[in-house]
Amino acid sequence: MSQDPKWDSWRSRWFELRYKPAGMLAFMLHRLTGLGLVFYLFLHLAILSKLGGGPESWDSFLALVRSPLISILDGILLLGVLFHGLNGLRLTLIGLNLGLRWQKASFWVILVLSIALAVWGSAGLWILNK
């Protein structure tokens, strides 16, 4: 613990996962993935701007995309998209007072499903890129 209670309090709210119920974990992950997707949108636009640099610029970028590191990053992106999208559906249903009693279970189902699909999808991308 630091000597600053305000910092400790803020850190425990956002970074201490112990005692956090499923609903709060979903709340945090939804925001984290949302921010990540906004960051990716700008990154995507920056990458597309390479098309303006001609075929050579684009081809060198494609060579980079085929590296295993990019496949891992693709997997993380896919995980963020899947979790954010599926949790958005979960929140819509909960917000309509539908399936309230399964709100905790549905978070874990969505998390596991997102991880499984992201692993499967990124492995597929890596195989296609080889």
């Binding site: 613990m1 709210r13 909960i94 309230l100």
Partner: protein
């Protein structure tokens, strides 16, 4: 194995000037409120509130290791961690008067705003053979507001306790001004500000389920718009 009869632990208390450490030895069967009373013997300037000692008055709410709890019914053995100090802090999202004393004016004002006087009924209400949930289970402890991430980012938000009270008022046929109440909960600081983190329901010591009430209110508002 023989259970220890006493627990010795370091307690870290959040005060205006920063963290202050204390050391206490208490029976293993003690509660967090006993810690505060023990520390008060060491430092009489410690400010905290308590009354009933059995989760009825709602006055001893605080955060234990970052989590909202009622000090009177939180067993020490449940929250003490070996080798680590027990961290005690006042509730969030309320102005701190001193140590564990927080200003509840906005909280009680919110309950007044939704026509929920601070009066409890002894029996559950039943009208037309329909059993109504008693919102009066709420002990006005403020734990839900402290745990709510939206109340933390927007002090104008009506908050889980007031919205649950509003749902109770609307569910209760004796409500005198349903149109005004519906307009209030449908407003900018009403049910649509909730982001469904369910922290309020998790920490509620009386099983009021404020998040469930908020979602029920949303459903009610949508069905009224459709009609």
């Amino acid at each position: 194995m023989v259970s220890p009869t006493t627990i010795s632990l370091n307690v870290r208390i959040r005060r205006k000037q920063g963290w202050q450490d204390f050391h206490v030895t208490l029976p293993a069967s003690a509660y967090v409120l006993d810690i505060l009373e023990e520390i008060e013997k060491q430092d009489a300037s410690l400010l905290f509130r308590h009354a009933c000692h059995h989760a009825s008055c709602g006055s001893c709410g605080l955060r234990v290791n970052g989590r909202e709890r009622l000090a009177c019914v939180t067993p020490l053995a449940e929250v003490a961690r070996a080798g680590r100090p027990l961290r005690l802090e006042p509730l969030r999202n309320f102005p701190v008067i001193g140590d564990f004393l927080v200003d509840f004016s906005s909280f009680t004002g919110g309950l007044d705003g939704v026509d929920m006087p601070l009066v409890r009924q002894a029996e559950a209400t039943s009208v037309d053979d329909h059993a109504y949930v008693r919102f009066e289970n709420c002990i006005e402890c403020g734990l839900c507001v402290s745990a709510c991430p939206i109340a933390g980012s927007d002090p104008q938000y009506l908050g889980p306790a007031a919205l649950a009270a509003a749902w109770r008022s609307l569910e209760e046929p004796r409500q005198s001004n349903p149109a005004g109440l519906i307009a209030l909960v449908d407003g900018e600081q009403g049910v649509w500000r909730c982001h469904a983190a369910f922290e309020c329901t998790e920490v509620c010591p009386s099983n009021v389920n404020p998040a469930g009430a908020i979602m029920a209110l949303r459903r009610l508002l949508l069905s009224r718009e459709r009609a």
